[in-house]
């Protein structure tokens, strides 16, 4: 069953304004390519801990600390690789039944 509301996605990095902004843009492109209606925000690690997104995306050194924050936590090394991120999102969102 597809999600009946907009998907909330959080792009996370250390400071929350540079690297994560790049990741946010890559994630928006990837989600668009999958036809997913999503809102992507970027933030820093400590602010992220107080949030309740559907999906968290970040580097392994950060997602390890955020494993319980969301049903889907995705680790990426290349923040510019739209196709790689889209492939991970397709697998993980599909497994949650969130893709149409």
């Amino acid at each position: 069953m597809a999600l009946d509301r907009r998907l909330e996605v959080l792009a996370v990095c250390g400071v929350g304004m540079g690297t994560s902004l790049m990741l946010k843009m890559t994630a928006e492109d990837a989600l668009r390519s999958l036809g997913v209606d999503a809102r992507v925000e970027n933030t820093d690690l400590s602010t992220a801990r107080g949030m309740t997104p559907d999906v968290v995306i970040g580097q392994g050194m950060h997602t390890g600390e955020l494993a319980d924050l969301a049903p889907v936590v995705i680790t990426v090394s290349d923040f510019l690789d739209t196709e790689g991120l889209a492939a991970q999102l397709r697998d993980r969102l599909g497994a949650q039944g969130w893709l149409r």
């Binding site: 400071v15 050194m61 290349d78 510019l80």
Partner: protein
Amino acid sequence: MAAVTAVGARDAVAAAGWREAVEATAGILVGLGAATAGYPRACVRVVEEHGPYIVLAKGLALVHARPEDGGLGVGVAAARLAAPVEFGHPDNDPVDLLLGFCTPEPDAHVATLSALARALSAGLDARLRAAGDEAALTALLREVVADA
């Protein structure tokens, strides 16, 4: 937005390790008058505190700190290293190209950085690596900033 973004580049930067590479990149922003003298140290501290996550793709780092760490204006810099350095990143080491930015307030840089992200997705990093000299590096950055 384009008119207020300072742009600068250095080629063949000698750096003995990631700290020197980060300081040299942020130092370009200081030289442009876009950041205070303390900004390079702040950029090093970001990595010390949060890990080498600023290495956001193979061989490429995005050097920055917070606005309150010494951002005076919106600035973008590129540094090409004489020899690559290791950040301790699990997948993206070694790093030979560093981009730096600074911003005076949390949202002032968004248009500039968004343009930089779009350009990187379209292969800016490869074009910066292939650029002939410092002037060519600067010209490539100027093109990107003009789109912001």
